[in-house]
Every structure is written in C-alpha cells, then in structure tokens.
C-alpha cells in the first residue's frame, strides 16, 4: 500500500480569506517579510501501490476538491523516515513566548 498526499489549494486569483487572516497573524508576530499566505488542505489516502494517477485525479475532481475554485497537487509518500516532518518539538504555546 502507498500513502498518497493530496494538497488542495484555492486557485490563484480566488479570494482566500483564511489565507489573508493568517497573513495578518504572521504580521502581528513581526514576520513582516511574508508577502503572501494561501491556506489549503492536505488529505492523505492509503491506496494500492499500482493506483493510477488518473484514479486519484478523478477522486479530486469528483469530490475531494471543487474544480471551480480549487486545484490540487498529488505527492507520493517518500517520507516514511519522518525527516521531512516538523523540526520544532511540540511545545505548549506558553513556553514559546
């Protein structure tokens, strides 16, 4: 079995109110150099190794994404060792500030 990661974002030009709000939040923390934020969603599906790209695209087109406003990117998981994962240990917010 393979884990396939589907990253869904709003198409360029489609208003991303959530991204704007997050952008404001980053600015409020002093990250002034961030010039844009787009927020999307990530869906991981577990499928047989030989699952065709077309099948996954069909899942996105028919249900996982709304093709009128969203686009998607498909990534096969080569990240089982976890090296690509968050480098910052999870801490309660209060310890970070």
């Amino acid at each position: 079995m393979a884990t396939v990661r589907i990253v869904i974002t709003l198409k360029p030009g489609v208003l991303d109110a959530q991204g704007q709000a997050v952008h404001q939040g980053l600015r409020a923390l002093g990250y002034e150099t961030v010039s844009g934020v787009r927020v999307g969603k990530c869906i991981e599906i577990t499928v047989p190794d030989q699952t065709a790209r077309d099948d996954i695209d069909a899942m996105c087109e028919r249900f996982l994404a709304n093709p009128l406003i969203e686009e998607w990117r498909i990534e096969r998981d080569q990240d089982r060792d976890g090296t690509g994962r968050s480098r910052v240990p999870v801490l309660p917010r209060s310890q970070g500030s």
Partner: protein
C-alpha cells in the same frame, strides 16, 4: 401541498422549516432523512440550513453525495420545485444542481444579521408571485456565503437570468455596502436553467412571521404553493380527485 424537508446529520434549520410550512402555512410536511431513497408523494423539496455532516471537506460537499440526493436530483430533473436555504444552497452547488461555488466571507467573519435582497427573476416557482425588483428583508447567518462563479460561467448565469436575488439596501439599490459577504455582483441566490431549483443564503423560514421582525420569507413558500396549484390544475383538471 406536501413539502419534503430533507434532514442531514447537523441540519439545524429543519425544525424552523417544518414549523413555517406546517403550523404557519398549514401544509403537509414530510421529514425526509438523508438516507431516504425516494421523495414519492412530495410536491416540493426544501434543503434547510445547518452544517450538514459538519461541513467537513467543504460546506455541503459530503451532503451533496448523500443517498437522498439521488432522489433530489431525479425530482429536480422532473421539474419539481427545490429550494436550498443557506447550507441547503451550498449543498445544491456542491451537487452541481446549481452553478457556482461558495467561498468564505470576505469579511473574515461569520455574518449573523438582517439583510435586504432584491428579486431579480420571477421565473421560478418561489418568486413567480413576487414583483421584479421587489425588496425582501430576511436574516442571514453564515461564514461561507461568498458566492463565486468563474468569469464565463458568471456571464452565462447573468445572460440566462439565473440570478434570482441580489443583496441590496432598503431602497433596493444593489451597492457594495449592502453586500454582507463579498459575493460576486451581490448575488444572494441563483436558480438552474429551468428555474425550478433555487438556492439562496438568506433564511425565508426565519422571516415568515411578523413576530420575528419580517414575514417577507413566507412569500417564497406561498409563491411555490400558487405555482404548484396552477401546475396541478393544468395537469389534472380532467382527472378530478386523482393525485
């Protein structure tokens, strides 16, 4: 008349719809569960507001694939009147029964307020007995009511007269300030090409009694009833008493 109110897990305006149609307007109401396979015996269908299936994935996305939607689709194809209110509108969009999509409100807030909408088309069962340009006052309560359609689709919708309601001020002027959520061209409601499927973000069922501040909403339901009566008369006049 017999109205079918479709109830999904986490619908939360279904009781209001039942109350208005049954108690205020005196019609038969059938509560239709989301797993139902049939809408037999129903004259009109209402998809109420709420957060069906928790609005997981996208508002209305999971509900649009619920078993009952096969029956709603068939009902709509046969010309039956279907009204989607708020989340019900989002479900109809996700089901492809209406054109367009919903984005989050541009104001970054959930909007819970009273708005005015202008009737832009009377070519639907729910607006047939209203006047073009008539201004209605109804409440809204949503976080994702920012109607969007890509350029060519929007042009086609406008051209075909499928915009049914636009947000406006009390005088009926369609102005940016009257737009509560950023909807493209102030669109508050649209219909399918045939006109029998209508979706809108404002809640007519919350504005159907004077006591609640406005009873403009009941005009939509009454219009549908008149439309159905007219259709029934023209269809079954010779078959007196049959249904």
């Amino acid at each position: 008349m017999r109205f079918g109110i479709v109830i999904f897990p986490a619908s939360n305006c279904d009781r209001d719809c039942v109350h208005v149609l049954r108690t205020v307007l005196g019609h038969d109401v059938e509560e239709v569960w989301h797993e139902a396979g049939s809408l037999d015996g129903v004259d009109a269908v209402v998809l109420p507001g709420g957060f069906a299936y928790g609005d997981y994935l996208r508002a209305g996305a999971v509900a649009a694939r619920a078993p009952v939607m096969t029956a709603v689709r068939a009902f709509a194809r046969a010309g039956g009147p279907v009204l989607g209110v708020c989340n019900g509108f989002q479900i109809l969009l996700e089901a492809g029964l209406l054109p367009g999509a919903m984005l989050r409100n541009d104001v970054l807030r959930f909007r819970c307020t009273t708005v005015h909408v202008r009737v832009e088309s009377t070519q639907t069962p729910f607006t047939r007995s209203l006047r073009d340009g008539q201004v209605l006052r109804m409440p809204i309560a949503h976080g994702e009511g920012n109607y969007f359609a890509p350029g060519a689709m929007l042009a086609a919708i406008e051209e075909a007269g499928q915009v049914v309601f636009r947000y406006c001020d009390a005088q009926g002027r369609v102005l940016p300030d009257a737009n509560p959520n950023g909807s493209i061209r102030n669109v508050a409601g649209v219909c399918n090409p045939a006109g029998n499927v209508v979706g809108l973000m404002p809640h007519p069922e919350r504005a159907s009694e004077e006591l609640l501040g406005s009873d403009d909403g009941r005009l939509l339901f009454e219009s549908a009833v008149m439309w159905l009566e007219t259709r029934k008369r023209s269809l079954v006049t010779p078959l007196r008493g049959s249904r």
